[in-house]
Amino acid sequence: MDFAKIIKTIIKYIGMGLLFLFILEIASRTDDYVKWDAPFWSNYSNDNLSVSDEYGWHNRPNATFQKWVINSHGFRGPEITFEKPDSIIRVFCTGASATFGLYESKDKDYPSQLRKMLNKKYPGRFEVLNAACPGMSPPRIGHYYSGWLSKFSPDIIAYNPASDFYTNPYPPSDTNITRTQPSQPPLTFRLTSKAKIAFKGFLPRSWQMTYKRWQIANIVDSQEDDWLWETPPLDRMELYRKHIIGVIDTVRAQGSKIIIGTKTNSISSEMNDFDKYNLTNWRHLHVRCTDISLLQTDIVARKIILEIGKEYNVPIADIAPNIPKTHEYFGDHHHFTDKGAKIVAKFMFEQIVKIIENDSLLYSRAINSGEGKKQ
């Protein structure tokens, strides 16, 4: 074979390789367009769902990404007006990713299911909005509430505070409530992120677990002996208590009522393969904890919430002991499936109904026979 022919063959194969990748990228964009009505040419990623501004880190108004649709005020749910109609009871569900919804199908996140339950009991009386944002820690929620949510005059705040932030290397602070907005290059390949997800799905769980355990062990080995938390870090849990009380005070100061839900995880005592996989992934995000102390942290967090409930007379939706720890209810270590979200909605619903029935003003609005706004 002569040299020119070799070069020609190489160029041909490189060209085919590029064409192959180009078709994959085009297929990827066409797929997004058909499935999610995504823009064909511009950037399309979950980074577009959130924004950091004077209200802190929250959902970007009018953003959409796959099943997640944010309304013009930055909430998941129907459009609402700033002014609350007289006949309406407005409920904001707030928290982090478990409330925002990751694995639930469209309109099956717990706030959506709660909206349906409430409007079934009190037809057309409730506006229930999902005001949660992934990664929203308690101090951020307090800040976001006082700066933005309170403008909508919510009657009730349903709050699921995550304790995971407190086992991170750096705990949430009262001051640092914004985040650096990730910069987006002018052209991103959609194929890359899809390929990563597909590869992860294809990789056997046992291999992923082995790799992550190895990474955890490496990090732990490189630290001082007392770096690892063998038991839940009590100073951090005290901070958790303080921050939740801060949110309660902020919400009450603006005249809204608050319900707090207890947080749980999917790890059952049987420790089946699903549990082991989830625990490894969870631990990978909280390397300072041991498996045991990580699980105990949730138990301590629930205890704190129950104590706060008693001390501050806050209604508690005690979800934790009432949700089965199986993959039917959890998509991972603590995010819910449709079924899991339904249970959360049910417990929140019960507490909201109690509040309504014990508050003559809200009750009269709920049962008012006038034409309510249908959602």
Binding site: K12, F20, I23, L24, S28, K194, A198, F202, P204
Partner: protein
């Protein structure tokens, strides 16, 4: 090890690389080890069964040939004894692991129906994957030697490779020793064209399995698991299952053939567009060809084939299909399915002279319309059988038929959507490929590489991003 698993994605390139850098003799030895690793990855304990079948058939093959060569007194009797040893071993393994509980259960049912209560002893055993395939394969080896159609090999490890060759070990094609053994015994040469054809087949097989079959599975399962599905739903699920089982099994065969081709080894075509068959005979000439030809050569013909008059021919056909059904699984619905297939073959054979003599249809309709009508009719008759195949139990089957034939429930055409979405791309692709090339690789190769790149990219996209997560192949249970 599943073809559509991460483990295989690591395993196969390593095997392929080693294969082409090793010298010929070492290639076979390495392939044998790889085949045992491939099988042992699922459950290493059952490797002993493959080894037992291999040793017994290797020895009996040589012994039978020895009798053929010596031709001393009583050689026919001794040949029969050795053949019996092989048959008893293979059918014994198959019977014990696959059929014991079924027969024990059925016996207890029959006994209880005549008022005798029997508490049968059930065995708590799992069905070894691919047992029906490799036992049939090794049996054909000793039978062919017995019949003088081939000579045995004295190379034990090469024979062991023939039994355990990993691409076709667990779900076929059921290769005859006279075809595959020489390919394993002779030196292979790397051919770029054959290698590309192998990759083409692997991709097509994965597409059939991961995109079509596994994505259709949940829709079909939902209907067959429902407590009271509508007649229309059952029928559509029956169509869906026909497509699923074809894509699942022919996808496996394509991947098996593709892997073997990448190593310069040819395996037989197991599926040849079965759903364009216009009659039951053609259907079995196109569907699971390696099994249907095995049943023809080692069951139908020994039973007498078509030699003993029409009545015996029909009987032989029906028995063959009945046992063919039982081969698929130890349950009565498989026997019934085999019986249905047998009825179709018998009916076709009995009615053919009438149809051939009456040409009024030919006068009214053009050939294409008649052909399409026959294909549609045949597809639906196959679907009838596959609904029997897919049921959970006989009472469940009666319930399904009841709902189908009383048109129970509503008919929502939207339930056809998964079929259209998942099966149509494959149907279009297979149609175009057939029109261009008659499935002949030398013709496919002539199609522009740029155009093929585009098609392969679309296939890869659909497999990677719209494929269902790894599910085992339906035919593994057989």
């Amino acid at each position: 090890m599943l073809f559509n698993s991460f483990a295989f994605a690591i395993f196969f390139p390593i095997v392929l690389l080693l294969y082409w850098i090793l010298p010929f003799r070492a290639q076979n030895l390495m392939l044998l080890v790889a085949s045992y690793v491939f099988y042992g990855y699922w459950d290493w304990r059952f490797l002993a069964l493959i080894a037992l079948s291999t040793i017994v058939d290797y020895i009996t093959g040589l012994k039978i040939q020895n009798e053929n060569d010596i031709l001393s007194d009583g050689f026919e009797k001794r040949k029969k004894i050795w053949l019996t040893v092989s048959m008893v071993t293979n059918l014994g393994i198959l019977g014990f692991f696959k059929y014991y509980n079924f027969f024990a259960d059925s016996f207890a049912d029959v006994a209880s129906s005549i008022g005798v209560a029997i508490d049968p002893m059930y065995l708590n055993i799992i069905l070894p994957v691919g047992i029906s395939f490799y036992t049939f394969q090794t049996m054909s080896y000793t039978i062919d030697i017995y019949r003088g159609k081939m000579k045995p090999t004295n190379r034990f490890f090469d024979f062991a490779l023939y039994v355990a060759f990993f691409p076709q070990l667990v779900a076929g094609p059921i290769e005859r020793a006279k075809d595959l053994l020489p390919r394993l015994l002779n030196k292979r040469k790397f051919s770029k064209s054959q290698f590309y054809e192998g990759l083409h087949l692997i991709l097509l097989g994965l597409f059939k399995k991961v995109f079509v079959a596994d994505n259709l599975a949940p829709f079909i399962d939902k209907v067959f698991r429902a407590s009271d599905p509508s007649g229309f739903e059952i029928w559509v699920a029956g169509w869906g299952f026909a497509i699923q089982v074809y894509c699942d099994f022919s996808g496996y065969s394509d991947i098996a053939r593709g892997c073997a081709k990448c190593m310069g080894i040819e395996l037989m075509i197991n599926f040849n567009h079965p759903y364009i068959a216009t009659n039951p005979v053609e259907r079995w000439q196109r569907w699971h060809i390696s099994l249907s030809s095995w049943l023809r050569d080692y069951l139908y013909i020994p039973l007498g084939g078509s030699r003993g008059g029409e009545r015996k021919t029909l009987r032989n056909l029906w028995i063959t299909m009945l046992l063919g059904g039982l081969w698929h699984g130890a349950a009565w619905n498989f026997v019934l399915w085999g019986a249905w297939e047998g009825v179709m073959l018998i009916t076709h054979r009995m009615c053919k002279p009438f149809w051939d003599a009456h040409t009024f249809m030919q006068k009214i309709f053009p050939p294409l319309v008649r052909r399409l009508f026959k294909i549609f009719l045949m597809f639906n008759l196959i679907t009838v059988g596959l609904i029997i195949f897919r049921t959970r139990s006989i009472p469940h089957l009666w319930q399904l038929w009841g709902n189908v034939f009383t048109f129970k429930g509503t008919a929502d055409p939207l339930i056809l959507m998964p079929l259209v979405w998942y099966a149509l791309p494959l149907a279009v692709y297979e149609f175009i490929q057939y029109q261009i090339s008659r499935d002949n690789w030398s013709e496919i190769e002539k199609v522009s590489g740029w155009f093929r790149t585009v098609v392969y990219a679309v296939f890869v996209y659909l497999i990677a991003f719209h494929g269902a997560s790894a599910q085992s192949f339906i035919y593994f249970q057989f």
